[in-house]
């Protein structure tokens, strides 16, 4: 390690590999979206179902759209959608978890029970139900990810808050005249932030699974927009004639989820070395 520069996840090759893969994937999608060097994801450019070759690096789909820009756009949609949904879940979950862990009492009876109730449904089933109740589309995919990742977030934050709230510095803050907002924002939140960050990383990868799942079922991202899940959906019919339509988004999806998980593991190891 050189002076002034800190290598992330020093001595943790798996997390470093995950970070690199994620940076490459995100870099690809940003470059693709801003420069258009891969072409437009929605333009009908060539013959339908052509094999990967010089004109279309990853071939074309059933409508003659080049797959490469569609995968690039899909990475962007899948990651961003999941990250956005998890940000909402983390905000709500942290607030409820903090209040529940700090106040105990009735609040702490109701909130974790509700979380348990949501937790007891299979995640993908819950997600399908939400998409079915709302109109299929991006907002319902986001809502599904929020609702599926919220219970775990609440539980984890509550558990961390319970230990932190026992500490004397919280009492000391009350003695100094701090109100509820000050205690939550300045004393409890910073002390449980590491837990929230690690859980958010896992939630993002889980959110991507949910998103691809419901988009694959046709309930998430709607055409002509593409996500990795909807690409799988579109390509499944042509599996025997144009397998690249399924394999490419599938492999990219697997790599993306794996690298987010590796980063999550790395974060957890960095923040709490005792876990191993």
């Amino acid at each position: 390690m050189t002076a002034g520069i800190r290598i992330p996840f020093h001595g943790d090759p798996l997390a470093q590999a995950g970070t690199i893969a994620l940076v490459v994937l995100v870099g690809f999608s940003i470059v693709g979206l801003t420069t258009n060097i891969f072409g437009s994801p929605t333009t009908l450019g060539g013959p339908a179902l052509s094999v990967p070759g010089p004109g279309h690096a990853l071939g074309t789909d059933q409508l003659g759209r080049s797959l490469m820009p569609r995968v690039v756009a899909g990475i962007h949609v899948t990651i961003l959608l999941s990250a956005f949904a998890v940000m909402i879940a983390a905000t709500i979950g942290s607030l409820l978890g903090l209040l529940s862990g700090y106040f105990k009492g009735l609040m702490d009876e109701i909130v974790p029970r509700l979380a348990d109730l949501m937790f007891s449904f299979p995640a993908i089933l819950l997600a399908i139900m939400i998409s079915a109740i709302l109109k299929p589309g991006t907002p319902s995919a986001i809502a599904a990810i929020v609702i599926v990742t919220l219970p775990v977030m609440i539980r984890v934050v509550r558990a961390a808050t319970l230990t932190v709230a026992e500490q004397d510095f919280v009492i000391q803050a009350r003695i100094a005249g701090a109100g509820l907002g000050r205690i939550l924002a300045l004393h409890l939140l910073p002390n449980v932030a590491s837990v929230i960050i690690v859980q958010a990383a896992y939630s993002i990868s889980f959110g991507m699974i949910i998103e691809s799942g419901i988009s694959f079922l046709g309930l998430g991202v709607q055409p002509p927009e593409a996500s990795l899940g909807s690409l799988l959906h579109d390509g499944r019919v042509y599996l025997s004639v144009a397998p690249w339509l399924v394999f490419v988004p599938g492999i990219v999806l697997a790599i993306t989820i794996l690298s987010v998980n590796l980063v999550g593991d790395g974060l957890r190891r960095t923040i709490d070395p005792l876990i191993e």
């Binding site: 004397d168 510095f169 000391q172 910073p190």
Partner: protein, 322 residues
């Protein structure tokens, strides 16, 4: 003149799933400005509950059954939220056992001291507070995080924070139990010195009899949620009138002559489920007679101290048989 602190017949229960457990059972205590009042007793006798009750800082499951606590003549249980916050901030200071746990690990010391100061607080005021508690390198300490300090330094910081607003009452709950023996007396010297200098009452909760004897003007011995013997420390430590005090002294290693043997008190403190209608110490007491297990003893003044024992006269005289 109203005493700085007056506790009248205070009883506190903790609600649990299996019913109520009484932590404080009719405690009575007063303290005047400028004095050091030592409260001694075993773990579980109600010391900490009593200390936290003064700031109404009890856990949510705690319930005040009877009695009152008056700070400067005002009942802490009658205050509304704003008045309670003002009381805590301006009239009370707390020093806890674990100095590192008293400080928020995610905030620099300077910021935390600032929060304990009146108004917004300036860097200069922060350094003055740290300097007063013997941290000569105040600037560096202010920029540090709690984990960068030693236990003794952290305890100095928390003493500084507790006294920053010149409170009338300082409650120190085992302030040296987590520290090295070598710095215990430094910390107690500092704490008692600062309290005397500012005219604050110091309520020193401890089971370290030696320290209590050295630093307290008055002593209150707590057992089973009651203050069983209260009086000047010179009287109580030389001629105890409550059997529990006498047995505590004999169990304390510091008071055993070289070659002698400390005598542990047999049994364990009681777990009360309500008001104790007899003497709660009777099952462990070597002076027990029939009325001890039948009648709740009330406080009496005997030989310069207040004592809660049917047999106090015999205990002072050293006559064991009834």
């Amino acid at each position: 003149m109203t005493p700085a602190l007056a506790i009248n017949d205070l009883a506190i229960d903790f609600r649990s799933r299996r019913g109520h457990v009484r932590a404080v059972d009719g405690a009575a205590l007063t303290a005047a400005c400028g004095e050091v009042l030592g409260v001694v007793g075993e773990s579980g006798c109600g010391k900490s509950t009593l200390g936290m009750a003064i700031g109404r800082l009890l856990a949510p499951g705690a319930l005040r059954v009877t009695g009152d606590i008056l700070v400067d003549g005002r009942s802490v249980f009658a205050l509304d939220d704003d008045a309670l916050r003002t009381l805590r901030a301006e009239e009370l200071g707390f020093v806890f056992q674990d100095p590192i746990g008293t400080l928020d690990p995610t905030r620099r010391i300077g910021l935390q001291v600032k929060a304990a100061l009146p108004g917004r607080g300036t860097d200069r005021e922060v350094e003055a507070v740290l300097f007063e508690v013997g941290l000569s390198d105040a600037g560096r300490v202010a920029r540090s995080y709690p984990h960068e300090l030693s236990g003794g330094m952290a305890q100095r910081v928390s003493i500084g924070m507790a006294l920053a607003r010149r409170p009338k009452i300082v409650i120190a709950d085992e302030p040296t139990a987590a520290l090295d023996a070598s710095i215990k007396s430094q910390i107690l010297d500092l704490l008692t010195g600062r309290c005397r200098a500012t005219g604050a009452v110091l309520i020193l909760l401890s089971h370290d009899l030696h320290a209590i004897r050295k630093y307290s003007d008055r002593v209150a011995v707590m057992y089973g949620g009651r203050l069983v013997e209260t009086g000047p420390s010179s009287i109580i430590f030389t001629r105890p009138a409550h059997p529990y005090t006498a047995m505590l002294l004999r169990a304390s290693i510091a008071d055993v002559p070289i070659g002698g043997r400390a005598e542990p008190i047999p049994g364990a403190p009681p777990v009360l489920e309500g008001r104790c209608e007899r003497c709660s110490f009777a099952p462990r007491c070597e002076w027990t007679e029939q009325r001890c297990t039948a009648v709740r003893p009330e406080a009496r003044f005997i030989a310069g101290r207040e004592v809660v024992c049917h047999r106090a006269e015999s205990v002072i005289a050293g006559v064991r048989a009834s």
